[in-house]
Amino acid sequence: MNYLKLCLLSILLIPSLVFAHGPTPLKFDIEVEVNASPDEVWAMIKQPCSIKEWNKSVTECSATGEGLGAFKELNLDNGEVIKEEVTKLQDDRKKMLTTLRVEEGRVIKGMPIKSMGSFISVSENGSGSKVRIRGTAYSAFVGKSPPPDQTDSVCKAAVEAFHTKTLEGMKTYFDAK
């Protein structure tokens, strides 16, 4: 294939890699108190697959890399797979941004979102820590009348439930240590 054809092909391919979503970002903000020092909690959060220790919905986790750019695939107990990447890492603030994107045309059962940006951060809280997950998600459905299982409120509830499981699992994990 000559260079020109390759260029043309790549131009044609670009739009299919872009992620369409709704015009209203959804907001989530969940916090939990954890019985461990911020340093201890942060060190574990930075391990890409630590979520498997906490979140009961995650049955398997595989990751490549660590820190900024770490990419992980999570198998969920409903048979779905989600993929996330660490797109921002602020060690000094104990804060990390994880970005989830779903391929065009795919709908995650139980969590019908197109993309999500989740900040996880750890702060001091007496002798322990506070861990907060906050950020934004976009529903996958494109159009003004989504089916009842793909509405903004379904998406928001699903995302909140997922992050709540992670945080509550984290609390239990450190309490048991």
């Binding site: 872009v18 209203t24 907001k27 003004k144």
Partner: protein, 319 residues
């Protein structure tokens, strides 16, 4: 003679004081997650009224005569017209499937609204509130602006990674220019005849020369950038970085970063104040507005607004 000077001095002082008292510039901040618009008095830097609008208000544009503010509501597909004297919604238009970005002709006669789902721009007569024309554009038109002579529309097509120049009279696509990945906000630099398109996913800004319809430069910003605001007096550009909780200040000639200013969380809409002394930034996550001094480049005030403050568009009026 002496008396006369005194008199003139008195009149001038009175006039200046009266002006300060009467010059009440207002910022209209759409709060997308609580279906309201916060009206900020930019002199006292406080919210003087909260107006109920449609569902999921996002876009905002103030008319050039400062008499009206238009609000787009993708949630229930309507545009609200706010009267800037009464601070009430005086009219509402139903429109499309997800109206978001807006622009206005300089004579205030025509409002253009980009529909996120229909891949179309509507033009609306602001007197009759009837739809006059519909323009087919690219996928997920997210940014919309107009040329200084009101002949061209500039549309950022988020899912085509392109900017289109649409001839308003004929409806024809005059040019389509490839920019970065996922362009969102588009801002016209009228005195330089340039366009700045902010690309959310490639995290940069594309600079387009309007006359030649060509990309002449691009510069990096930070995570999930949204839109540019222009500060002509200090020759700088301000860009909101939604997932960096910051605003990049960039030199308007060299396009090099001067400073990055931390603001509230998830900043989106950004406007220069008409007096050129400050920049207003709506912080979506916090439900606040940060005010930045354009001289010191420091945040001087943070104003509580409402849930999901977006203020996507031109949101400050002069009164």
């Amino acid at each position: 003679m002496k008396v006369k000077f005194k008199k003139i001095g008195f009149i001038l002082t009175f006039w200046a004081l009266a002006n300060i008292a009467w010059a009440q510039n207002l910022a209209f901040i759409t709060n997308q997650l609580e279906n309201t618009v916060s009206v900020i008095d930019t002199t006292s830097k406080s919210v003087i009224k909260t107006i109920e609008v449609g569902d999921k208000p996002a876009g905002v544009i103030a008319s050039f005569d400062n008499k009206h503010v238009y609000i787009s509501n993708p949630g229930n597909q309507e545009i609200n017209v706010i009267d800037t004297d009464s601070l009430e919604v005086v009219k509402t238009i139903k429109l499309g499937q997800a109206p978001l970005a807006m622009t206005l002709s300089h004579d205030n006669q025509t409002l253009f609204v980009a529909d996120w789902y229909m891949n179309r721009v509507f033009s609306i007569n602001t007197q009759s509130l009837e739809i006059e024309n519909q323009y087919e554009v690219g996928k997920s038109p997210s940014g919309l602006a107009i040329s200084s002579d009101d002949k061209l529309l500039f549309v950022a097509n988020k899912n085509n990674n392109s900017v289109m120049f649409i001839d308003i009279d004929s409806g024809k696509i005059q040019s389509e220019i490839q920019v970065g990945t996922a362009p969102f906000g588009i801002t016209v630099d009228y005195s330089k005849q340039l366009l700045y398109t902010v690309n959310v996913q490639s995290e940069d800004v594309t600079v387009i020369d309007i006359k030649n319809a060509k990309v002449i430069n691009s510069f990096p910003v930070d995570t999930f950038p949204y839109i540019v605001s222009i500060d002509e007096a200090h020759n700088q550009l301000f860009v909101t970085n939604k997932r960096d909780n910051s605003v990049s200040v960039v030199d308007r000639t060299t396009f090099k970063e001067i400073k990055k200013i931390e603001v509230g969380e998830f900043p989106e809409g950004i406007n220069i104040h008409p007096d050129g002394q400050s920049i207003y930034v709506a912080n979506w996550f916090d439900g606040t507005v940060s005010v930045i001094d354009t001289n010191t480049l420091e945040v001087t005030d943070t104003i509580e607004t409402g849930e999901g403050s977006r203020a996507y568009g031109q949101f400050i009026i002069e009164r």
